[in-house]
Symmetry: C2
Subunit: 485 residues, 2 copies
């Protein structure tokens, strides 16, 4: 599969600065929650040995980027942050438990679809809990973390945490009669049910994967079901399920998990969804996927009438108890984790801001104070005075700029300040400076405001005067992007 | 050159969490200064078209990593952040000026030397000013930024900003008689003068690069000189220099720059060093390099008696007025920038902290509050109570953890809190809970302190009680790492 040729075009040159402001806000919303739950961050290389990534991603392995053989080992670019984390755990045997988060880029040789937030190089934000603990406690905390993050983004009531258990799924498959060696393939087919109708998925299972049509129909009766505790109770009365050891273990897990999720006050957004399967090979227990549920779809994520055109899941994860052992042999460390798709979250936030006309309110840079000069005939430009005032402001941590012109026009200086939405200007002139004064002017004040034309202050007080005004001035909000009802 | 085989070993498994805490502090010290000066951040892909990187790095081009040819274009991993930035500017023609910063990983097929902070994948922090402005103003601000960053790291008086000008260097070479087509090669040789004695460099120029020995000696008289304005004045009286157009232009630049650096109050740490050449092809004007000057060398960066064993430069940069035009043709945008070597800065900070015994003071994670339970006979573990209290704390943004055990021992809970240096514990028990009370306990109080055994508070006030105590408690400092005199 050859990548198309437009790869290096950045699709959003305009507003790039604002895009990064939004992206930074998303990163900090996410990492604040991770840190709130005790996570530390680690860093792993962008490339891994090719063999480390082999056999971990099922049908998606063909999307892995390889490095050229320039001598030395064969390497590939990481496909996700989970496998490198497991490899790292396997190599650092003194670490038997850790809550870690990581923000990093991953690489997939996929068809890009920028407006859906799907690119070949993109950030993932991962949080994982590794260690041997009492059942379902880390799993419950991961779900709680997802809720805190999406609530923090202002999406309360607008997302759904779809949840399932690999052992229940496998129980369904085997009790319906799927041969063991066909379970993962059937599982992959089932996972497409969020995008394709049952008939299509059934066809794939029967025609492509050679499943007996009767078995397919039995599976169909299970996997179309969604619910919460009610669905779990129903399964727990199902003889096929109760007699299947795998299903039984999965149901016991979910019973405990739902109880904990009640305690964490996050059951509202849960959907126990038997069609959720997740494509990756390494999951062994609870799996989940967070999707947007959008009451105002057209303005929200550029959806057309076809729901499969949406941005898909915005976070996903699950329990993978055997992955570390694949690298370390005996030293098995159970793990559960979640990965947030920042690009998709970004696409949603940005289109939402555009719909609510908030995008223009975001400042391009963080400058608080533009230092400018004016003067009549014989105007020198007051360059060194501007530089020196900037140096004073910088020294106190105040974000300041001046125009890189020896003799700038006042209009050009105001224009530069306005372009970036700088909230305050310091205007200096010969006469005022001679008296030890400068003018401070808040930008964008309405006509008739008493300080519209600025206020003269003592130059020696400039730092405290600027700081005082900055504290009174609020920044435009990025989150929440939805108005709470 | 085949990479050695131990690449994927992370050399510092122990204290990885603390390492990231230090690294994060360095990143935020640096980016705070960048933002203070009005920079916005942009992001470019980790890989670029192979041809984009060709012919930009002089003798170091052999260190570029290529991606495998899996169909599609030939790509390479970025070698620095400067060339991708110039490529980005060339492609985004609506942007004619920008102050941008970027933190990202770059890749070099080099021999790693971890204790010197030299690795094959490492972070760079770049700041660049692109645009057509009055001379030397952006250049002066870049030097000011470097000073603010190293002062912010607590290195005041311990670093030196070496500075030179490509046009002066070229003027020296041509006026001494170096043929035009040998100038870059001779320049590369001169750049080694910080690590090798003059005799060795002279030998390289004469024996390997075929330079006339007399010319080499003439060059030698120039390039051993270091100074400030005094050296510039001396050069400005040198007939060879004054009559050389290139040297003249360079001297005019530096005269103005030094004047501006005075205004910015940063001349103290400047060394005008005629041996500074910088290896990269793309510089056209002022070049600079920041090195540590260390009065306490052995504890400082693991140096042996050989100064070349040190960590080398911690930041470097210069003016590159023609690089954007190499990609865009007519649309030439002059640029000046600086790149901070975070790994090297990290090596220095870390070894310095170790020397001052500050490393142990860094907390492994950010948790403020460990929620634990205790009880006598019939102790249930109070799991849901712990979970529910954590949820309350998380809801208010307080960083909290509990042990993933249904019935934990009190000692194990304290141990977990101590291990991460958590400052406060909430201890709950049946009797206290029945009265609506919990105990809050500050860790590490001295014997005899009135609150040594903790304080009973109302459960309903828990958030404000924790917040109040957190505000009073100071975090251990990471910077400055040197005690100011």
């Amino acid at each position: 599969m050859a990548p198309p040729s437009q790869k290096f075009e950045l699709k959003t040159p305009k507003g790039q600065g604002k895009d990064m402001v939004i992206r930074d806000s998303i990163f900090s919303t996410i990492t604040d929650v991770f840190r709130r739950h005790g996570a530390v961050t680690i860093d792993t290389p962008v490339f891994e040995l090719k063999e480390i990534l082999s056999g971990k991603y099922g049908e998606d392995s063909k999307l892995i980027y390889d490095l050229a053989d320039q001598g030395g080992e064969l390497c590939s670019l990481r496909y996700d942050l989970t496998v490198p984390f497991a490899r790292w755990l396997a190599m650092n045997r003194d670490i038997q438990n850790i809550k870690r988060y990581q923000i990093g880029k991953v690489y997939r040789r996929d068809q890009p679809a920028v407006n859906k937030g799907r690119m070949r190089e993109f950030y993932q934000c991962d949080f994982d809990i590794a260690g041997t603990y009492d059942p379902m406690l880390p799993d419950a905390e991961i779900v709680r973390i997802a809720s805190e993050i999406f609530n923090g983004l202002g999406w309360k009531g607008r997302y759904l945490i779809k949840l399932n258990h690999r052992k229940i799924l496998d129980g369904i498959f085997t009790s319906c009669g799927v041969p063991n060696d066909n379970v993962r393939a059937i599982s992959s087919a089932i996972d497409k049910l969020d995008k394709a109708p049952w008939e299509e998925v059934r066809k794939e299972m029967v025609d492509q994967k050679g499943l007996n049509p009767e078995i397919a129909d039995k599976i169909g009766e299970y996997v179309i079901q969604k619910g919460k505790k009610d669905l779990l109770s129903k399964l727990m009365e199902d003889k096929n399920m109760v007699e299947n050891e795998s299903a039984k273990a999965g149901m016991k897990d979910l019973e405990l998990l739902f109880d904990y999720l009640d305690t964490f006050n996050v059951m509202d957004n849960i959907s126990f969804d038997l069609s959720l399967a997740r494509g990756l090979d390494y999951y062994t227990g609870v799996i989940f996927e967070i999707v947007m549920v959008d009451p105002v779809s057209t303005t929200f994520n550029d959806r057309t009438s076809d729901p499969s055109q949406g941005v898909g899941s915005v976070a996903a994860g699950g329990r993978y108890d055997n992955l570390v052992g694949m690298f370390s042999g005996k030293n098995q460390i159970p793990c559960v984790g979640i990965s947030f798709g920042v690009e998709r979250i970004f696409s949603i936030v940005k289109s939402r801001m555009a719909a609510e006309n908030n995008f223009d309110m975001i400042r391009k840079n963080a400058v608080d104070c533009y230092v400018m000069a004016f003067g009549g005939k014989g105007f020198t430009g007051l360059l060194k005075e501007r530089m020196s005032i900037c140096a004073t402001l910088w020294e106190s941590g105040i974000k300041a700029e001046f125009l890189y012109k020896t003799k700038p026009k006042l209009a050009n200086q105001f224009k530069a300040a306005e372009l970036n939405g700088v909230p305050f200007c310091i205007v200096i002139g010969d006469e005022e400076l001679a008296e030890g004064k400068v003018k401070i002017k808040e930008m964008g004040l309405r006509d008739g405001h008493p300080e519209k034309e600025g206020v003269l202050i003592d130059l020696k007080d400039i730092v405290e005067q600027v700081q005082k005004r900055l504290q009174q001035k609020k920044n435009p909000r990025i989150f929440p992007i939805f108005t709470d009802s």
